[in-house]
């Protein structure tokens, strides 16, 4: 499959485009949930409501990114495994996932106590800030992968 896709001129840009559109929906929604935790943006809306309404969109975008991203990795076959930016990107993704898990099973359990506060407790703000940084890192590494492959080609 990877050979057939690599030989076609359309698959690669098309998948890249889909990957980026997925990013815009995933990052474009999660950012506003992170910012809400930091007390910026939708600060008048309850934290839990912002989370519940944005999350399905974040996950849909992420699903699109994951499928298109996996296909791009398959197309590049072995080239990505040793790519330093790719390794950082995967590490950032894992860290972002862990951040969500920790947040969900600790401070978010007591969300009723701070749901309406414009500014969330410190641990929630840290989780929001960390998520913003990790997503910026994921975006940056993704862009760097594109350039490093161009240079190698």
């Amino acid at each position: 499959m990877s050979l057939a896709m690599r030989e076609s001129n359309y698959w690669f840009p098309a998948l890249n485009l889909i990957h980026l559109l997925g990013l815009l929906v995933a990052a474009g929604t999660i950012v506003f949930w992170d910012l809400r935790l930091l007390g910026i943006g939708l600060r008048r809306a309850p934290v839990s409501q912002v989370g519940k309404s944005l999350l399905p969109w974040t996950w849909s975008g992420f699903g699109v990114m994951f499928v298109s991203g996996s296909l791009l990795v398959v197309m590049e076959a072995g080239r990505l495994y040793f790519n330093i930016f790719f390794r950082f990107k995967v590490a950032f993704l894992i860290l972002a996932g862990l951040n969500v898990l920790v947040f969900h099973f600790t401070v978010y359990r007591r969300v009723d106590a701070w749901d309406l506060a414009p500014k969330a407790p410190l641990q929630a703000r840290l989780a929001g800030g960390l998520s913003l940084l990790l997503w910026f890192g994921i975006l940056a590494m993704g862009r760097a992968i594109g350039y490093s492959l161009d240079y190698a080609a």
Binding site: P13, G41, A45, S53, A140, Y151
Partner: protein, 156 residues
């Protein structure tokens, strides 16, 4: 025009941006991060208008909360965008997707800050006019994004 493009590429800034491998991609990353803010905030606002999210929050409140973030993203893009353009001005000038993008961007910006944002911020309830405006806004920005991504994806 050629003089202007040559001048763009000859500035110290453009020389620096192209002087090593990392500058251009770095500016590009900030340009995309700005896009995430602009497109994301407008997407979230329009999803609210379509009644898909935050139904208990008034549209006017959502619009007011998101507006500074849209503006922050616009500023990030307006700083990074011209830097990218200047570095390889001739390449951009000749690119059809780039021309389409500039045109759509001008329309989308005027429409957002002139019409859509004010409609949303003053909205007492979601009516037909506001929903049509949200649909127009979404289409314009999707057009800007597709043309913008097309500059590079169609260049190969």
């Amino acid at each position: 025009m050629t003089d202007f493009l040559t001048w763009c590429q000859s500035t110290a800034l453009s020389q620096w941006v192209l002087s090593a491998k990392w500058q251009y991609p770095t500016v590009e990353i900030f340009h995309i991060a700005g896009l995430v803010l602009v497109f994301g905030s407008i997407l979230v606002l329009n999803l609210r208008i379509f009644g898909r999210i935050l139904r208990q929050q008034p549209v006017s409140e959502v619009a007011a909360g998101l507006s500074p973030l849209t503006l922050t993203g616009v500023i990030a893009q307006f700083v990074s965008g011209p830097v990218l353009f200047m570095a390889t001005a001739k390449h951009f000038y000749e690119s059809v997707p780039f021309r389409v993008k500039l045109l759509l961007l001008a329309v989308a910006l005027v429409y957002h800050f002139g019409v859509h944002r004010s409609l949303a911020m003053k909205a007492q309830a979601v009516d037909r006019a506001l929903r049509i405006s949200a649909a127009a806004s979404m289409l314009l920005w999707i057009g800007v994004v597709l043309a913008g991504l097309g500059i590079e994806l169609l260049a190969g």
